[in-house]
Symmetry: C2
Subunit: 201 residues, 2 copies
């Protein structure tokens, strides 16, 4: 691509580093920004820089936080004896949006993946074990995505948790609400039958 201006080229190259944004999309975004008033572009740039420089992580659960403790860990109305273990911050947000969980979280920051060179030491596992040992934790719920790596991670951590006597559970897998049996993949459907629950009426 030939750019008419070094500034445009730089902005396009920087934007194209974002995931899912290629050079063509980056150029479209840059040309859009050129048409906006200066203040709104400055506030975009500022928001991004501030985000990276000022965001802190909760020292307890590793969730994103504006303070030392995140809004969940700092909330006295929540049940801090239950910990929900998730991969990423976006999973905390997804669960929070359901409004059906009132416990605490623990963000691992990823899953064990030998291919990507991520071992147990790269994740927030030691701090999770520390919390379970020191605090009065009644249950640890694993809410990781469905992948080989996530299953390995759940297995690895749950083994260590059971050694120190913690109760471990995982979220239910099954046919999604509104989903059609006919179109559900066989693994999910099979699991939904094996892990059937007694009908409450």
């Amino acid at each position: 691509m030939n750019f008419p201006s070094k500034l445009v080229e730089e902005a396009v190259n920087e934007m194209a580093k974002l995931p899912g944004i290629g050079k063509k999309t980056a150029l479209r975004l840059v040309l859009f920004l050129l048409k906006q008033d200066e203040q709104s572009v400055v506030s975009l740039g500022d928001a991004l820089v501030k985000l990276r420089s000022n965001t802190r992580y909760c020292k307890k659960c590793h969730n994103i936080s504006d303070a030392e403790l995140c809004s969940v860990c700092d909330n006295k109305m929540r049940d801090h004896s239950i910990i929900c273990v998730v991969e990423n911050i976006s999973d905390v947000m997804a669960i929070e949006n359901t409004s059906s969980y009132n416990g605490a979280y623990h963000v691992l920051g990823g899953v064990i993946s030998p291919i990507e060179g991520i071992g147990p030491a790269d994740l927030n596992i030691a701090s999770l074990l520390g919390r379970v040992k020191e605090e009065d934790i009644s249950e640890v719920i694993f809410a990781l995505n469905s992948s080989m790596e996530a299953d390995t991670t759940t297995f690895y951590i749950s083994k260590k948790l059971k050694e120190i006597g913690a109760k471990v559970s995982t979220i239910a897998r099954g046919v999604p609400i509104g989903g059609e049996l006919e179109y559900t993949d066989e693994v999910t459907l099979g699991r939904s039958i094996m892990e059937r629950v007694s009908y409450k009426h």
Copy 2:
């Protein structure tokens, strides 16, 4: 969406203002940026702010430029007696990438569109007429997109250009190279027959 941090919320809201980027994508991009090292986020923010504050437009053809005259207008090797009229800067880049045009450009900045409230006065039409009057222009080529608005714009400007005695042409419309006749829409195919060119061998 509940955000764990005001900074994240702000960054997501700013990113979601970009065209084609919704809240979910914005969150994905923001979480990606959080994982990058600080310097690369700062350089993205800087590139965007600098882009908007420092980019200038060529005073002659209204293309983006780092200097008073853009690299095309400032290039003595190019044929400045031919002007190619385009809608946007991205069209200049597209034509430049073909390496088959050696003349000058004129960026209108859009097309006449009464629905969007864009009249002739909002576009760089007066400066185009000024160039044709003052400079020794042999031909004005219209390279606008195919739309009702673009056709109106071409008609409007070409009428004014012909009044001052300029030669006006438009880019050829026809079956794209590599395109199959069978799958070409009838308007394009019809036009490619009407505007057939003599075979050179």
